[in-house]
């Protein structure tokens, strides 16, 4: 069974680090989701929830669990992570109504549930249409009559310029060749679990750390996004607290007293 049966979820630090993504025993029954909307829709539909009304925060856990435990299309990992961040934000807003999260630096980045829902609905309509198209792919084609000499009445033939032959090959050469298909699954080197470990290690000296310090060490956008996600996850578990004096200012991550890392699990 896919991960959505595993609620309530927690992203386990150990998972992912040694996750055998290429192991056939692990991937056998799981669809590999190509995009985040596909995964989100799958989670909603497999629980028979109504896309129009379900609070999207309700599927946040299932989504993050899936991302942490199962292979997704590696090419689009940052898109998956971006939606994960939105969902976790929506969820934390529901959990902590009295304590609003600090505003996003850019208002346009503020996760908008209705906008996400609108995208889901649009995606679903076109995905359904694509399934319908697929069902009639080549099944009952409307066929053209290919030309044959007998059709054309006799006509005086004129000289043709040789340039048209060269032109035909040039035009053909200019059609973009599809590049080799990206591999479906590659090992993920950065996981939320790993980054949680990174954050904990950083906090182990003095119990607090500047998020910007950690982000500055990240090698890629994906790594930074996953680190941010790991931070949100720790906040969600109430294992850390985040403080930011002003917009764009440093974000201080501080361990919550009495909660030993990992003890909550």
């Amino acid at each position: 069974m896919p991960a959505e049966g595993m609620e309530p979820i927690a992203v386990e630090p150990s998972i992912g680090v040694a996750l055998p993504v290429g192991d056939p025993a692990f991937t056998v029954d799981l669809p590999v989701f190509e995009g985040p909307l596909q995964l989100l829709l799958h989670l909603i539909e497999s629980r028979q929830l109504d896309v129009l009304t379900v609070p999207l925060a309700e599927v946040a856990d299932g989504y993050v669990a899936h991302l942490a435990h199962h292979p997704v299309d590696a090419e689009n990992l940052s898109e998956f992570v971006a939606i994960a961040a939105q969902l976790i934000y929506l969820k934390s807003r529901r959990i902590l109504p009295a304590e609003p999260l600090p505003p996003m630096p850019d208002a346009a980045d503020e996760p908008d549930e209705e906008e996400l829902r609108r995208r889901l609905l649009e995606y679903r309509a076109l995905r359904d249409a694509s399934i319908e198209l697929g069902a009639r792919d080549g099944v009952a084609p409307a066929m053209r009559r290919e030309p044959r000499e007998a059709d054309l009445p006799e006509a005086r033939s004129e000289l043709l310029p040789v340039a048209v032959l060269v032109g035909a090959l040039e035009a053909l050469a200019s059609i973009p060749e599809p590049v080799a298909a990206p591999p479906q699954i590659v090992a993920r080197e950065i996981t939320i679990g790993q980054q949680i470990e990174v954050l904990r290690a950083a906090m182990s000296r003095g119990g607090r750390v500047l998020l910007q310090t950690i982000l500055a060490r990240c090698q890629s956008r994906t790594e930074a996004a996953v680190t941010l996600l790991a931070t949100l996850e720790l906040i969600r578990r109430r294992q850390v607290r985040a403080e930011q004096g002003d917009i764009f200012g440093p974000i201080l991550i501080e361990g919550v007293e009495g909660v030993e890392g990992g003890a909550a699990e």
Binding site: G35, E114, R119, L126, A129, S130, P141, A142, P147
Partner: protein
């Protein structure tokens, strides 16, 4: 059918080895364009209404004669055509382009939520979509639309024949209205 022009156009589309535009057909018939267009529409309607084995296919102001979709399945057996099926990802991108044409790669990626460069190239390569121009926005991105090959493969006489999008379209509109009202 007794209209002279329809008779001529039916024969012309029969021997033509490519779709003919309304303008070309009007020139060949030496008639004004609106008259040619009316005759073509009437030919299309009469082939459809008489339940004949042939149909007029229209796309982007060009016309061609094809077999009727009702007999397509039996003909496909006869012609023993084998074409590689399209992947779900390619079908998704194709659906976005078919329903939203003309549209850009960015439009497709926005709807699908994923990079779609590869699938769009493969659709171009299969001639199922064609570049139709450029959008007049910064960067002037290329616009794509479906081709006659698309109509043939899916047994459609025109893109108006595409099944309507599920009720979600209406729901989307409702959502948009709600958002606008805010």
């Amino acid at each position: 059918m007794s209209d002279d022009l329809e008779v001529y156009f039916e024969a012309l589309l029969f021997i033509a080895e490519r779709p003919l535009s309304t303008a070309e057909l009007a020139t060949l018939a030496d008639r004004p364009r609106p008259e040619a267009e009316a005759a073509l529409a009437s030919l299309a309607a009469s082939l459809d209404g008489d339940e004949r084995g042939l149909r007029v296919q229209r796309h982007d102001d060009a016309w061609q004669l094809v077999t009727a979709p009702e007999v397509g399945a039996r003909l496909a057996t006869y012609a023993a055509r084998e074409e590689a099926r399209l992947s779900p990802a390619a079908l998704e991108a194709l659906a976005v382009i078919a329903y939203r044409q003309p549209c850009t790669r960015g439009d497709v990626e926005r709807v699908r939520g994923v990079d779609s460069d590869y699938v769009i190239r493969s659709l171009l390569h299969r001639r199922l979509i064609v570049e139709t121009g450029r959008r007049d926005t910064p960067g002037r991105p290329v616009l794509f639309g479906t081709s006659f090959t698309f109509l043939e493969r899916f047994g459609l006489t025109s893109i108006e024949d595409l099944p309507p999008l599920s009720t979600d379209a209406a729901q989307l509109a409702a959502l948009a209205d709600r958002a606008d009202g805010d």
